[in-house]
């Protein structure tokens, strides 16, 4: 059976890249004693699927991966076993059983929520509220995404589902994070700055992912663990 694990990534752990986080969890699962399933062959590996890779430097409260297991104890027990062996900066929030037939974590990702704050001394010269207003007023916000092979022009209006300011002046975003659309928060920020003929610097923002979403049959966005069942 498959379980879905939700975790956070904070502190110094934000400097650990996605591939190393995967390696970290492979070892952590071994330490935890969870009855994980392995592939066959000379170098057996755990059958796992990570949702949406988080870039180096970002923190998160809504990371997920799926794990194939032979047997389970209880959600609470498995969560505790994992948390007992976590490094400072990663916390397991939930361990839930997945229904028989469902897409794996990676294929399920439809959207991601972010909160973006400005590093001290790196605040923009213009009003960010006004910039968001401009963004919302436009029919189309084109963005040229450069990939290794070519350039693709996207309309951010189609893939930014929500944008606004929190009470303490942080920007919140809900964007397409599916493999087809995948919008990075920095792309949206570049579009906001472009209105004022400015380009944001590499270290202007602290970017925090708040949640990763799937789209259910009705088309509504729900957290990735919404289809899981406590054991």
């Amino acid at each position: 059976m498959k379980i879905r694990i939700k975790f956070t990534k904070h502190g110094a752990l934000k400097f650990i890249g996605h591939l190393d986080v995967m390696r970290y969890f492979q070892k952590a699962i071994r330490r935890s004693g969870i009855d994980v399933a392995y592939s066959t062959g000379f170098s057996p590996h755990q059958i796992m699927s990570f949702a949406a890779p988080l870039g180096v430097g970002l923190t998160s409260d809504g990371e997920y991966f799926d794990l194939e297991v032979h047997s389970v104890t209880s959600s609470e027990d498995m969560k505790k076993r994992l948390n007992d062996t976590m490094a400072d900066g990663i916390e397991i929030l939930s361990v839930l059983a997945l229904p028989e037939k469902c897409k794996n974590a990676m294929a399920s990702v439809a959207a991601a929520g972010y909160e973006i704050s400005f590093r001290e001394g790196h605040e923009p010269k213009f009003s960010i509220a006004e910039a968001i207003g401009h963004f919302l007023d436009r029919d189309q916000v084109l963005y040229i995404k450069k990939t290794q092979k070519n350039e693709i022009t996207l309309d951010l209006k189609q893939s930014v589902y929500k944008i606004g300011l929190t009470n303490d002046n942080r920007i919140f975003l809900l964007v397409d994070a599916s493999s087809a659309g995948n919008i990075k928060p920095i792309m949206v920020m570049e579009a906001l700055y472009r209105e004022y003929d400015e380009i944001p610097g590499d270290f202007d923002f602290c970017i925090h992912r708040t949640e990763t979403y799937l789209r259910d049959e009705d088309g509504t966005l729900k957290p990735l663990d919404s289809i899981g069942q406590a054991i």
Partner: protein, 625 residues
């Protein structure tokens, strides 16, 4: 969140920030206000190399078991971080507390190879610790060196307050107790260093004076303070089953060279190859109890979550309980889905059977280290491997499905002739031919591939070859060229690939291996010219090194190509590693007679290591004639 020494902007711009943040699983955090001694362990190379070193893991675990001590780690910052630390004036820091190294009581540096000597200076420099020991005060940590290179500490003697000669498990407790006691009494730094120098295995270099002959060789070396020993006897763990072993080693976030559980099954080697320093330094052979090793293996796998385990020793096939241990691991690891890696196994029926169980034959290769191309030269170096044994092993392996064979040789060994170099090519050719004879055409699923690698032989202290002469760079290149030429003339040359090491670094390594105190100023000069990370070819600055030697008026040939007489006093003669100079001399002469000396299991050859009263020296076997 724990404070980090490097600002976020820096961590996000440098390569692999995980090298500098600490916080790894099983790393130890203590309250610095509740310990008496802060010890920082350093491996002066990049994190991924340093984290793979077992010795530091053992000592880290030992120190942290002591309530009064907090041991942390530091490695050489990679060039990108190095430049930023200098530019922004950020002092080098320990991974755990992220505190400056300068604030520590001790900085312990393990010295595993000569080409890291300048990285020691890099670490001291970035820590704002005076490079030269004589300029340090109580504001600086006690800088203590350990590891194989400290068996000839003289080239780096200027930079260390103390050296620990031998295995670290035995004297550190005494040293730390002495430190606490003398700090409490408000002793001077000098008073402490003198008292430390009286402890077994501890060498305090600043209280020794060396006098030289007219020809530049050593006349004498004497302590300048009464009570300090004239010779330092190495420290050794007599019972390796009753000592420290790290059951919870630190698990790095990033992939390191050694990304696995390392189980040290024994110390020392029975073989006595005449070029091998480790084979003499770590005598006598001491085996760990097999039941204990089984327990260790399970505990370490559980505590780290590593997906691979490796056995560590100089010659695993000589471990008497190897079949029992390996069979246990095969069963245990099958269940845990853990891979087993078995380096340094002799190729025979047993090892082939084991390897076929633990590896994918299609992906793995077999390794032989004949070290020399002819039987004559193999007798000179006392490498007990014969051609029939190699061919037999290869044939069995080909029958078992292997198609890839790696062969390791050394060029520039004492008494080497052109015929010995040709022998390398011919042996490789015979192995390839054995494949075509053994495996019928219809069964040859993959091409046979023989990879020949050569390194240049570098004479090391405390080996029978410590009297050997080296060659010039051009001669080494010529030898590699000859090898390549000879391989290209073989019938099966298409199946043979040849790799060789660079010659520049080999000459330099040779200088420092058998160097003396006069070399300290060359190291300092070279470091100031920007030479460090010399073990990394992309950073190795040969021209700058040559300038440093020239400016210091030091002749490289004195250390490399000069003939050393049998009665020359060597810079390392004041250290006693157990094996006597008389024995080494006898072995050097036997090498020239091309006679083989039996290994320690066959008979005792009275090398001197029996004085430690332990290990194989006290097992029943034959005696020297």
């Amino acid at each position: 969140m724990r404070k980090l020494a490097l600002p976020e902007e820096v961590l996000l711009t440098i390569e692999k920030p995980a090298r500098y943040i600490g916080n790894e699983i099983n790393s130890v955090i203590k309250d610095k206000n509740r310990v008496d001694i802060r010890f920082c362990m350093c491996f002066p190379d990049v994190y991924e190399i340093g984290m793979s070193h077992l010795g530091i893991q053992i000592l880290y675990d030992m120190f942290n078991q002591w309530e009064d001590t907090w041991c942390e780690r530091v490695y050489s910052p990679w060039m990108d971080a190095d430049h930023i630390l200098r530019e922004k004036n950020i002092p080098l820091f320990a991974l755990e507390s992220q505190d400056p190294i300068k604030n520590f009581d001790f900085l312990g540096i393990t010295i595993q190879y000569e080409m890291c000597y300048t990285n020691i200076l890099q670490v001291l420099d970035l820590s704002n610790i005076p490079l030269v020991a004589a300029e340090r005060t109580w504001d600086d940590p006690i800088v203590i060196g350990g590891g194989p290179c400290t068996y000839n500490p003289e080239p780096i003697a200027d930079f260390f307050d103390l050296f620990y000669i031998g295995e670290g498990e035995t004297q550190y407790r005494n040293l730390l107790d002495l430190y606490k006691e003398m700090r409490a009494k408000n002793a001077t730094r000098e008073e402490f260093l003198i008292e430390a120098g009286k402890l077994p295995g501890i060498y305090a270099p600043s209280f020794y004076v060396v006098t030289y002959q007219e020809d530049g060789t050593i006349a004498d070396m004497q302590p300048t303070v009464p009570g300090l020993p004239k010779t330092i006897l190495k420290e050794i763990v007599t019972d390796v089953s009753e000592t420290y072993y790290p059951l919870k080693p630190v698990v790095p976030f990033i992939k390191c060279t050694q990304d696995r559980v390392v189980l040290e099954i024994q110390r020392g080697c029975i073989r006595g190859c005449r070029f091998c320093q480790a084979g003499q330094l770590y005598r006598p052979v001491r085996e760990r109890n097999v039941d204990l090793l089984k327990k260790y293996a399970v505990a370490m796998l559980d505590n780290t979550g590593h997906e691979e385990i490796s056995l560590s020793s100089l010659s695993s096939s000589d471990y008497s309980e190897l079949p029992e241990l390996v069979n246990f691991l095969i069963d245990e690891c099958r269940e845990k889905k853990v891979n087993i890696s078995l380096p340094s196994l002799r190729i025979d029926a047993f090892s082939l059977d084991v390897m076929s169980k633990v590896q994918d034959i299609k992906k793995s290769s077999l390794t032989f280290a004949p070290e020399a191309g002819t039987q004559r030269l193999r007798n000179v170096i006392n490498k007990g491997l014969t051609e029939p044994v190699i061919l037999n092993g290869a044939i069995q392996a080909f029958e078992g499905g292997w198609t890839r064979v790696k062969l390791y040789f050394m060029l520039g060994l004492p008494t080497e002739t052109n015929e010995d170099i040709r022998g390398i090519a011919e042996l490789a050719n015979k192995i390839a031919a054995a494949f075509f004879e053994t495996v019928p055409k219809e069964k040859r699923r993959e091409k046979v591939q023989i990879v020949v690698s050569t390194s240049f032989f570098i004479p090391k202290p405390f080996t029978p070859f410590q009297w050997a002469t080296m060659y010039h760079k051009e001669d080494y290149i010529e030898k590699a060229y000859q090898t390549r030429q000879a391989i290209s003339e073989q019938l099966n040359q298409r199946s043979i690939k040849y790799n060789w090491h660079e010659a520049d670094v080999s000459v330099l390594e040779g200088v420092f291996a058998r160097g003396d105190r006069k070399l300290g100023k060359v190291l300092l000069n070279a470091y100031k010219r920007g030479c460090y990370f010399d073990a990394w070819s992309e950073f190795y600055k040969h021209e700058e090194w040559l300038k440093a030697f020239e400016e210091c008026n030091i002749d490289i040939d004195f250390y490399t190509t000069r003939e050393r007489s049998l009665d020359e006093v060597f810079p390392w003669d004041f250290i006693d590693c157990g094996v006597t100079k008389e024995f080494l001399k006898k072995e050097w002469l036997r090498a020239h007679e091309e006679s083989v000396t039996p290994n320690c299991k066959v008979q005792c050859n009275a090398c001197g290591a029996a004085r430690f009263g332990c290990g194989i020296c006290f097992e029943e076997r034959g005696t020297a004639e």
